[in-house]
């Protein structure tokens, strides 16, 4: 077994996870990136999507994350700061589908640049939620 590092995921409504992990896979701009212990110190951007991390007992924990920042510290510990982070089983698919439809409707209308950006981000979040939830249900 690979060595463990400390992983801390903080969302705006509380600390999502704080504990040991063997491997973390997160969505970046250009695909998924995995981080293991003794990774080089760095700062990165987490995209909207699904993250997964391997727990001490070898099981994978999935979560749907909205955009945030990730930093790796010299001692190997990793901290993620994201707007929201949810377990797939906690996702309200009905609400997510509604949000997706709302975002699609909004995109049909003429919007200012800011509104457009926000609608796109909302749509991406809703789609990530639905995807994460459907993984869990199947």
């Amino acid at each position: 077994m690979a060595s463990l590092f400390n992983l801390k995921i903080i969302a705006c409504d509380g600390v999502f996870y704080d504990g040991p992990s063997e491997m973390l896979i997160y969505p970046a701009d250009d695909g998924e990136i995995a981080i293991m212990n003794h990774h080089e110190k760095m700062t990165g951007v987490v995209d909207i999507g699904e993250i997964r991390f391997k727990l001490e007992d070898g099981t994978w924990q999935h979560a749907v994350i909205s955009d945030g920042l990730l930093s790796v510290y010299p001692d190997g510990s990793v901290k993620i700061l994201a707007y929201s982070c949810e377990k797939p089983e906690d996702i309200d698919t009905f609400r997510a589908r509604e949000a997706l439809e709302r975002a699609q409707d909004e995109l049909q209308q003429k919007q200012s640049y800011i509104e457009h950006q926000i609608s796109i981000a909302n749509m991406a979040r809703a789609m990530a939620r639905l995807k994460g939830a459907s993984h869990h249900n199947n």
Binding site: I10, A11, C12, D13, G14, V15, A28, D29, D30, I33, E40, K41, M42, T43, G44, V45, D67, G68, L69, S71, K79, L81, Y83, S84, Y113, I114, Q117, I118, A121
Partner: protein, 341 residues
């Protein structure tokens, strides 16, 4: 001395007012409980982003970028446009809560360098109506309330402000909000969200603070006392810079991370400020209503004593009158009897 009727009226009206203040006290104590829970949940995120940005900036290479306001054209600007985001409440009756924020904003505007322009972005109806009616330069399109804070609202706020900044309509963005330290004390904070502090600036300041061991200089004092000033270092930044001065890789790119960093930090700060403000407002209102109820009780106490005294005096007077009348009648009767005899 007032008549019993007048005093009775006064007592009734105070009792009615007390009913209102009591009800408002209960409402705000309930809202406060909700806001406090939210505040507790948000605390790690809010603190985490502040630590995060301090750490990033401590290791960020010096580049010329609009977010540092050190591009060549920025250096040649003589006029800096300031934007102030001021957080107030939607309603009054919250003690000095709204007033303090407004006062601080005015103080900041008065302290601007000659020729600098400013624009106010006011959250909350009380502050907005104050600044508009007093002829300050307020952005009319910025309409938000600090009630029931949501991430969505914080996001829209942040996008709006960053868009203005990127368009060059603002060069400095400060945020004025009230922080809840504990249930009794609240602190007004002013923080600069944009431009960010450059690595060299942080290093210089930290070196200065470390160099003077006695901690007598202005910078060291500010750090120690936790003074929130736009030019002073906070403890997060001090800690981050003291951990080493190496540049770390940024993925996917320096610019990508910086862009994300600014958006994240801004949104998180807006959200944090919204949550802090809603909790502080309810707290301030609760305390104000508590003291209003106490005062009403004190006045009622005094008035009831006065009322009783007046009533007693009146009764005494009436009895005297009756007795006087009866005596007079008796005398009259006696006289009549004597005359008839």
């Amino acid at each position: 001395m007032a008549s019993t009727k007048e005093i009775q009226n006064r007592i009734n009206s105070i009792q009615d007012t007390m009913k209102i203040t009591k009800a408002m006290y209960m409402m705000s104590s309930m809202k406060l409980r909700k806001a406090k829970k939210k505040l507790e949940e948000t605390e790690p995120f809010f603190k985490g982003t502040q630590i995060g940005i301090a750490e990033c900036l401590a290791h960020f290479p010096d580049i010329r970028h609009i977010y540092f306001d050190n591009r060549v054209e920025d250096d040649h600007e003589t006029i800096k446009k300031h934007g102030f985001i001021v957080f107030t409440g939607d309603k009054g009756m919250a003690g000095a809560y709204n007033h303090n924020a407004i006062k601080m904003a005015i103080q900041r505007i008065d302290g601007l360098a000659e020729g600098d322009e400013y624009k106010l972005f006011v959250v909350g109806e009380v502050g907005r109506s104050f600044f508009i009616s007093n002829g300050y330069n307020v952005d009319e399109n910025f309409r938000f309330s600090s009630n029931n804070p949501s991430m969505h609202r914080a996001r829209i706020m942040a996008e709006y402000m960053i868009d203005l900044y990127n368009k060059g309509e603002l060069d400095r963005i400060d945020i004025i909000y009230t922080k809840m330290l504990n249930s009794i004390t609240e602190e007004l904070c002013v923080e600069r969200l944009l431009p960010l502090k450059t690595h060299s600036f942080l290093k210089e300041k930290a070196a200065k603070i470390e160099a003077d061991a006695e901690g007598t200089s202005k910078d060291a004092k500010e750090l120690k006392e936790g003074v929130k000033h736009v030019h002073s270092l906070n403890s997060y930044e001090m800690e981050a810079i003291s951990q080493g001065d190496v540049f770390i890789p940024f993925y996917p790119s320096l610019k990508g991370v910086l862009e994300k960093l600014v958006h994240n930090h801004f949104t998180a700060f807006c959200y944090g400020a919204l949550v802090e403000c809603s909790a502080s407002e309810e707290n301030a209102r609760m305390m104000a209503m508590q003291s209003a109820t106490d005062n009403a009780e004190a006045i009622l106490h005094d008035l009831s004593i006065e009322y009783n005294r007046v009533r007693q005096a009146q009764i005494t007077q009436e009895i005297t009158e009756v007795i006087g009348g009866a005596k007079a009648l008796k005398k009259k009767k006696l006289k009549k009897k004597l005359q008839s005899q």
